[in-house]
């Protein structure tokens, strides 16, 4: 569906609303698991976040006299993604602030749907993480306060692989359970809503980066550790649901590979660095910012034009 080619272009009946609905459907398993595991409070967080996003989109577009695009579900999806990226015990006003930031500052000020240069949900998450770092890094698991697996791993511990795979650990609402994420991702791939290129190149380059790092620093590659790193934090969730956002990812296959590799490598760098335990959201928004450059360098050449000239023209 997203193969960029010369005319004639084939049209089909796919509209924004259907795409957004498909992603929402794919997020249902993770959402249900989050509500089941973290309790009813997770549902409140999700509801507040969605209401805040939809309302701010509606009010902003009304005030500015633009066409109201609430019914295309994109604000709904932003709210859902934002909530799934929050820890469950944040104060209830925090998702509301995040929703307003995501929609008004990241999306509408840049021109609304299709014009934002960053993923709104992730930009809002980073905004909240920087602004309210204490609230955003307090995690709970099994009803008591606990550190996320990534923090434990940084401290040298080795969490239980089965618990981490099943998602019964501390973390954000939607990111802990691997089977649920993969189920949603499979749905999206089968429905051809997302292409597997971005997630695969992202995860692949992350695994490669960690293996090379392991090999260079310890002489051996610790497979178990890398699997733990893959299951931990928002890596899979980010790779399948956040990085594949249409607006903020490249359109060509080559561009997608470059984009995925950039995300995977940045996640590796951020996770190995001293300060941050988790860096998926930063990695994805950093890569979002180089997307225009990637697109320029990987633009396909029309038949009959010299490759070199195109390069020069684009740069």
């Amino acid at each position: 569906m997203l193969n960029v080619s010369a005319a004639p272009h084939i049209r089909n009946g796919t509209y924004t609303r259907e795409l957004m609905l498909d992603v929402c459907i794919a997020l249902i398993p993770s959402t249900c698991f989050g509500i089941y595991y973290f309790g009813i409070r997770a549902l409140f967080i999700i509801a507040i976040s969605i209401i805040s996003c939809v309302l701010s989109e509606y009010i902003y577009e009304k005030i500015m006299g633009r066409e109201v695009t609430v019914d295309d579900m994109s604000a709904f999806l932003t709210g859902l993604l934002l909530a799934l990226n929050l820890p469950v015990h944040v104060p209830l006003w925090l998702p509301a602030v995040g929703g307003v930031f995501a929609i008004i500052i990241v999306k509408q000020l840049f021109g609304g749907i299709g014009h934002n240069f960053m993923n709104p949900a992730l930009a809002a998450r980073c905004f909240l993480l920087i602004s309210y770092s204490r609230e955003m890094t307090t995690f709970f698991a099994d009803g008591e306060s606990g550190a996320t697996p990534l923090v434990l791993m940084k401290a040298g511990e080795r969490p239980d692989i089965f618990k981490m795979f099943m998602g019964t650990t501390a973390g954000c609402i939607g990111e802990t359970c691997v089977p649920m994420i993969l189920m949603g991702a499979l749905y999206l791939v089968i429905r051809k809503v997302i292409s597997v290129i971005i997630p695969l190149s992202c995860i692949g380059s992350f695994v490669l980066f960690m293996s090379v790092y392991d090999f260079v620093s310890y002489g051996t590659v610790d497979t178990g550790y890398i699997v733990l790193q893959l299951c931990a934090g928002g890596l899979l969730f980010g790779a399948f649901f956040m990085a594949t956002d249409y607006v903020t990812s490249p359109v060509t296959a080559a561009g997608k590979v470059v984009y995925g590799i950039s995300i995977g490598t940045l996640i590796g760098i951020f996770r190995l660095s001293k300060g941050l335990p988790e860096g998926v959201s930063y990695a994805i928004i950093c890569s979002n910012m180089i997307v225009p450059l990637i697109e320029k360098c990987t633009m396909p050449v029309p038949f009959g034009e010299e490759k070199k000239r195109i390069w020069l023209r684009n740069i």
Binding site: V97, I105, I130, S131, Y132
Partner: protein, 210 residues
């Protein structure tokens, strides 16, 4: 409006260096973490601006056209040194909180800009008023950015705890506003608020265009 008050109006409203000319962005973004810092930075810059405008206007017939920029820089850095030494002697606390941004006034575009665009071709008194107007505009810009950043990022205004008195500590300060990204957010919103008044987006026929 006579020509002296016109200079003040021009500096504060019409060609406000922070919100309209977008000059001196480095101190604007860096030191405005609190309102007090903004005021002090603005006053120091105003002092340098007035001094250098007077001197450059006085020497405008002597300075050769071809080497005017180095000559201006010498005059500006002399004024900055005066301000720096005064601050060091009488207000060491402010000097240490503004740090490297005091000596950096030398390379502030507003000062060189006013020297080349205005003081080099106008009389001493009106150049002084121009310096006052531009300096006041810069001070107002920095102070308003500082007030918003301090209020949102720390819950205080000029060190006075607004949050505690009026909101009973209910507001959780968003730390991002005292960090670098907050400066850009606040600056952008204030520019938009300044621009929005009576601006139809018709830039080619703008009455503020000179």
């Amino acid at each position: 409006m006579n020509r002296y008050t016109e200079r003040l109006y021009n500096g504060i409203i019409r060609q406000n260096p922070t919100f309209v000319l977008m000059l001196g962005m480095c101190p604007t973004l860096a030191v405005t973490t609190s309102a007090a810092n903004g005021v002090m930075m603005g006053i120091s810059t105003t002092a340098v601006l007035v001094m250098s405008n007077i001197l450059i206007s006085a020497f405008r017939k002597i300075i050769p056209k071809n080497i005017r920029i180095p000559a201006y820089i010498v005059i500006i850095s002399a004024s900055v040194s005066v301000v720096q030494m005064l601050l060091m002697a009488y207000r060491p606390d402010i000097y240490s909180s503004l740090g490297v941004y005091i000596p950096l006034i030398v390379v502030n575009c507003i000062i060189l800009g006013r020297a080349d665009a205005y003081a080099s071709s106008n009389g001493i008194l009106i150049s002084m008023f121009d310096g006052f107007g531009m300096g006041a505009g810069f001070t107002i810009g920095l102070t308003s950015i500082g007030i918003f950043r301090e209020l949102l990022g720390n819950g205080t205004i000029f060190g006075w705890n607004f949050n505690e008195y009026f909101l009973k500590g209910q507001y959780t300060p968003a730390a991002i506003f005292v960090m670098a990204p907050g400066a850009f957010f606040v600056l952008a919103f204030l520019c938009a608020a300044r621009k929005n008044k009576g601006c139809g987006g018709n830039c080619m026929n703008c009455s503020e265009r000179r």
